[in-house]
């Protein structure tokens, strides 16, 4: 079958790879109808996870179940499903306490050794271990293009918004207007934040933020810290969601949050190092929470419901729809920040 594989450090290519088959009674095979390229794929490809040549990329996909092992009970052949990018056992203490991504047996699709060597989703088909715990049935009211967001980006956004816990009258800042940041802004507004301020430097992305009801701020033109100070009688944002995954973005989040405020770190980090003055953090009584890998299974039903009620809509974020063969072009677009969300159709 066709699949997008690592060709060399930082480069992908289309290749023929063996089609997946049921290897365990809890497995399902999903024929992928829509996959997507995520910012994390670029992180993996550029060294934040040890992917190697030949590894199949991707961790977002929606499709049709074509086969199941004899232990699978919750999905069946022919079901339309979305898969969680983080694959877990579904039964351990972590999985039964809403912290699936911390499961000792968790793996991530398309992330090489870092992800437990689980073949990725940018392919014609994918094997999903633990199908009962890691597949969600997609209602007819949600099309494939929207459903593909339910496996990673949208639960991440909904979880981030919930962790930011906006109260009525509060101002929340979102650092970064990528897909997670934009959907977090939508989720925050839906969760009751009085004002959501999205910080970025890309005009197209800021326009998307503005159209969702957020206040979009171009950080090339306005200082983030003083902008939030100006909106809050010099206090700063009540809560901040860092949705980039860079030391600079983390620093911006700390710059704009008020004393006693809440910082949710949703961006992905690996070997990044930053200096912090514990005394200043302590004196500011900061509440910093790291989301880590999103426990998708704890949030995807809430994300699905938010989509069904119209609270969030990821469709405007889709900038490119490409055939699977065009994946290298899609990665290039993403790397140049010329795309917001790239969908791939096998």
């Amino acid at each position: 079958m066709r699949a997008v594989v690592v060709a060399a450090p930082g480069a992908v290519a289309l290749a023929d790879v063996p089609a997946p088959a049921v290897e365990d009674p809890a497995d399902a095979i999903v024929r992928v109808t829509t996959a997507a390229i995520c910012g994390s794929d670029l992180h993996f490809l550029h060294g934040r996870a040890p992917v190697t040549a030949g590894d199949v990329m991707g961790h977002e996909a929606v499709g049709i179940v074509t086969a199941v092992g004899n232990a699978v009970t919750r999905v069946a052949e022919g079901d339309r499903v979305v898969l969680s990018f983080v694959n877990t056992c579904g039964a351990c203490w972590w999985c039964t306490h809403g912290q699936h991504a911390l499961c000792d047996r968790s793996r991530v699709f398309g992330a090489g050794a870092f992800g437990g060597h689980l073949a990725g989703t940018q392919a014609e088909a994918v094997r999903v271990p633990g199908a009962d715990a890691n597949l969600l049935l997609v209602p007819d009211a949600i099309d494939d293009e929207r459903a593909v967001f339910l496996g990673d980006v949208l639960p991440t956004a909904v979880a981030s918004a919930a962790m930011a816990a906006p109260a009525a009258g509060e101002t929340v800042a979102v650092v970064g207007a990528g897909p997670v940041g934009l959907l977090t802004a939508q989720a925050l507004l839906g969760a009751g934040a009085d004002r959501v301020v999205v910080l970025d430097r890309e005009p197209e992305r800021l326009a998307l933020a503005g159209s969702s009801g957020a206040l979009a701020v171009d950080v090339r033109e306005r200082d983030p810290e003083m902008t939030l100070a100006g909106l809050t009688e010099d206090r700063g944002a009540d809560a901040v969601v860092e949705a980039v995954g860079s030391v600079d973005a983390f620093g911006t989040a700390l710059d704009v949050v008020r004393r006693g405020g809440r910082v949710v770190v949703a961006g992905m980090y690996a070997g990044d190092v930053t200096e912090l003055q514990l005394g200043v953090w302590w004196a500011r009584a900061l509440q910093v929470r790291f989301l880590g890998l999103c426990p998708v299974q704890a949030w995807w039903e809430a994300a699905r419901d938010a989509m069904l009620t119209g609270t969030v809509d990821p469709a405007p974020l889709i900038s490119h729809r490409l055939d699977l063969d065009e994946a290298p072009h899609g990665y290039d677009l993403f790397a140049r920040r010329a795309a917001t969300k790239v969908l791939l159709r096998p």
Partner: protein
């Protein structure tokens, strides 16, 4: 805005902040201050000040200011580049508006450092112990005839 009587000055009118002329004038006032000389008698080390750009306030790019402070004397002052700033013993970073607040007496610099409004590179306790010297430095900025870019527009 006039100068405090008795303090020497090299200019007659207000100077733009941040500018070389402003730091030159500030240095003159520092070295004329007996209070500062006494308060900072044990201070050693130059300080780089990053005034972060605020294009909408008339500060289009980052600006690094610098004071070489040594036992109550200001041995040098002015604008420097980023490379030189990184070699300074201490660095303090804030957006332009925060610095303006300091100059106007609206933001206490020691409190600003503890609140993260002024970000310090270097040993924070060493700096915050210099409360008297910092207070006198701020008072002296008030003696520099200053033109702020966002008020000139």
């Amino acid at each position: 805005m006039g100068l405090t009587p008795g303090y020497p000055s090299s200019v007659d009118g207000p100077m733009a902040f941040p500018s070389q002329a402003w730091f030159d004038e500030f240095r003159t006032h520092i070295n004329a201050s007996d209070e500062y000389r006494e308060a900072a008698a044990d201070w050693e080390g130059d300080i780089a000040f990053l005034i972060k750009a605020e294009p909408d306030k008339g500060v289009p790019t980052d600006v690094w200011g610098w004071l070489d402070l040594w036992h109550g004397e200001c041995r040098g002052a002015g604008l420097i580049d980023e490379a030189r700033a990184s070699n300074a013993a201490y660095g303090i970073t804030a957006p332009y508006t925060r610095w303006k607040d300091v100059l106007l007496g609206d933001l206490d610099p020691i409190k600003g450092m503890m609140q993260g409004k002024l970000k310090v590179r270097g040993d924070l306790p060493t700096i915050v112990r210099q409360v008297r010297a910092a207070t006198e430095l701020v008072r002296l900025t008030g003696e520099v005839p200053t033109a702020f870019p966002d008020e000139a527009r």
